[in-house]
Subunit: 304 residues, 4 copies
């Protein structure tokens, strides 16, 4: 498969696309990004690397970090996490209080905000130095010690994150948050502020292509069955209220973030990261969705 | 009208009633109250006073205080408060996040928790020493300088009030809370902790029987039109999800609290307070509802 | 009290009002009415009659008929109707399926569409010739044999009433509709198609001013306690999602219809009907609300 | 891969399982089925056939038929069907009126009841003899002229299907049902009444394993891209409110029915049908879920 050629074709075809969508503006730090940044990086499990555009520029991975906190939670405490968070798609906007209230404080899945807050709570309980230890974990699976939080972004979130405060307090009232609400929010805002390039992000997600082992080191992070389940959750829950649309058009497990990043994996083959900050009305990268649809169409490979 | 005789008849008839209902137990301080306490006091606008049982014993007025914060808010800033809180019955449990989310952070009315939190926020903005000044206001309309907060109860609430924290954070995310969330909650928990006897409570609510003037001093607190509107809100919204039932059976504007108190007014005639801590499943005093139904049936007078 | 003089003042003041609001257009027959029709009639229990404008012109009473079917249901089968319909305000649009689904097919009150459909079902079960017998009943309390259905309007409703069909089918699935769904809908559409003038409507509602007795004949239709309860339901539930607003501004029990009619009662004094087909966004007559607010302000009398 | 050996192992391991779950009893005809029936059939795209138990006994495929009506709809009118039904998981019980009301009569996906009713409506519009033509289509992809409706089951549904009546009427009120409601319901109840054996069902679903071509005849029913999309919809929406759980545990696109059948496909490899009438609380076959989890675990193959 000539991946680089396919990426080049995609790049060519995108030239006629209008620059649709708006940048996330609820966090000042995100609003300052150039909306027309665009990068792609595909990391193949066999070692191949293919890229386009601004693929070596850092961006805020935001909600994509939820897959990483889920992974660390699973590797630390195993299947008991499923007592505190479900695995069903939400069918409602990603931060819906209504659904959480109806379901007695048990979030529908770990990739929506309340689910990620519960995962943050679990990590705080199980880590000695939660933020530092989480960062170490991410650096390990990324094989890259330079990955870091952006404290300014974390601080911006903290200031405006009253809706996350509402979610955390509601779950605390149902006793599904064990630690102090502010500590949970602080961890969560930091986790979301991690910055990566497309290249770093796709390399990191090779873990889920490779049955839970880090390809470079061979270290097992998740069992084969756990890795399969993380992929299943990405496939059904990774795109807020557009999970079905992504599955329908692209046909790969994946996760998006409001920073404009999307990462997707084809098990046993590759992980691919796209970054384009303009978002569609559901909060997913407008061009990111297009690029990945083109990629699976042109390669003829998806999970379906 | 022989009010004392009617109260005595009611007392007699209640003797055969089973002691149904449970005491509120989510706050330790409230859970320690003797569930079989029972008091009634009727204050007539012409000066008459009639009572039964533990009518001179203090209890926690809890949500009844929402009528008093609404009254102070109205008297301070007038009709502009209606830009931040509506006047419609809620049709949902008193602390529903779902409805608040659906209605973009504007509470349905000032007598449900989110509405009272908005009133607290308005008072904090408009008072120099919010808690002290609110207490002074209550003492003035009660004509009684001994009325006070119960700080232990306020502290209990603060510890368990995560759902109120969720409501306040959600409204803050919609910019309908202007002050610091913790300051708003602290004010709210103190306001709810005020203690009064049945006698003090019924005397205080003569204000709403008397077109907004304190009968004893003649001081005007609300315009006649404002007082009428507070009564209208009590009539449609005063009993959580049982407002219709209270209107249907009793036919008076009123307000209940989880401490087991209920106060009701017959405009131009009387205010009456009942205290019995056992609550029905909707959170209103079981016996309190019964006593007031008997009272309006025996007197033949209601607003309908 | 110089009622006619007050009505004349109101008429004078209304001249500067803009003609706001839209006519109901979901039924072709209603859409053809002149939107600027305007009539008022006040019937006093002492026999006085006062009016303005088009007070002797017939209009479609629509949802106002729900009070009449409730009255007949209560008089026929008594308090057992409360097993099948509740008495709480709805806090949701008048035809919400969501709430009905959540509450297992028990409508919140008899004045929203699903509640009226249950009343229709009860009447069909308890009357020999349901539509004819209902009409006879209305003629009796109206003291007027010329009152009739408008079959064209009833037929229009039947054609477009799929949402009512959804409500009836949903309640049937919960076994809270006993008769054939189409028969229930047919009865309901006919009941809503009744036509009255303001004069006829206010005279009819004197029943609720007079403790359940027809003033003209002295016949008892409802017990005093039942009449009081119908008033209480009108006060908390008579204006869809604007019941609180009406109570707040006007302070009388009442009921509106999408034909632009509103009727309200001041117990022991009068019933008043207003007709103006332009509706506000909540579906209540725009001018009707204004006129009644002026009336209670100018007379200084409301139930509060 | 020794499929038959794997099936035999599964059969052996199941012997210690308790017989949990209840048979669907809302339709008398389904309630009469022996709850302990159990069959499995796996049809491999290379022609292999492997089975267990009652695999040649007919059962009511019920909601599994929704995949077939979607397929016929797609093949007849193409992507324009997506204007009338979405592709998102529902996050609510399969027949939720609430969500449908909130989303203005556009069902979340074609595999929940309202979505299937819209597909039925589309088929009625586009087929000359809707029921007969649909049956012919199913017989063609099944390669079997003996497949038929069970009219008794269809009639049972019609009698009790008031909730489907509510859904259809609600969508009609939003103009998303074009034909007569009763005709749509009649079509839908017939489609659900189709009976197949496990062997017939797995053979029929080879279509989705084989990129939209009938393996036996080579006839193209769906384009490769359309077939991929049907699989994506089964993966995210095929199991009511347990789609995530199925994806998580089994990792195959699939569809269940209240008759106790489940069919799943591994693209390019096989289709497998399981029948066991005892349902879990989400309405999916209890043993069916277990068998398929074992199958993908033992083979080591899933889409993830």
């Amino acid at each position: 498969m000539q991946y680089q050629q396919i990426l080049n074709e995609i790049n060519q075809e995108l030239k006629v696309y209008e620059r649709l969508g708006e940048i996330a503006n609820y966090i000042p730090e995100l609003a300052n990004v150039n909306p027309d940044k665009f990068g792609v990086h595909l990391s193949h499990i066999d070692g191949g690397n293919y890229s386009l555009g601004d693929s070596k520029e850092k961006f805020s991975i935001q909600s994509i970090s939820k897959v990483l906190s889920l992974t660390l939670g699973l590797s630390l405490v195993g299947d008991s996490i499923w007592n505190r968070v479900d695995v069903e798609p939400s069918g409602n906007p990603f931060n819906s209080l209504q659904q959480l209230e109806f379901e007695n404080g048990i979030p529908r899945n770990p990739l929506i905000n309340p689910g990620a807050l519960v995962m943050a709570d679990i990590l705080i309980t199980n880590l000695e130095n939660p933020k530092e230890d989480f960062l170490k974990f991410v650096r390990k699976i990324a094989g890259n010690d330079l990955i870091d939080f952006n404290h300014k972004v974390a601080h911006s979130e903290a200031k405006w994150g009253f809706r996350n405060g509402a979610l955390a307090n509601l779950m605390k009232s149902f006793e599904n948050i064990k630690n102090d609400v502010n500590e949970v929010l602080d961890f969560y805002f930091h986790q979301c502020s991690i910055e990566m390039t497309c290249q770093e992000l796709s390399k990191t997600f090779l873990l889920f292509t490779n049955h839970g082992k880090i390809p470079e080191t061979g270290e097992t992070i998740l069992s084969s069955s756990q890795a399969k389940r993380v992929n299943a959750i990405m496939a059904t829950c990774g795109f807020y209220d557009e999970a079905g649309e992504f599955s329908f058009k692209v046909g790969l497990p994946g996760k998006s973030g409001v920073g404009g990043g999307i990462v997707a994996v084809l098990p046993k083959k590759y992980a691919v990261a796209v970054w384009s900050p303009r978002l569609n009305e559901k909060g997913n990268s407008y061009l990111g969705m297009e690029v990945l649809e083109m990629l699976t169409t042109k390669t003829g490979w998806s999970i379906f």
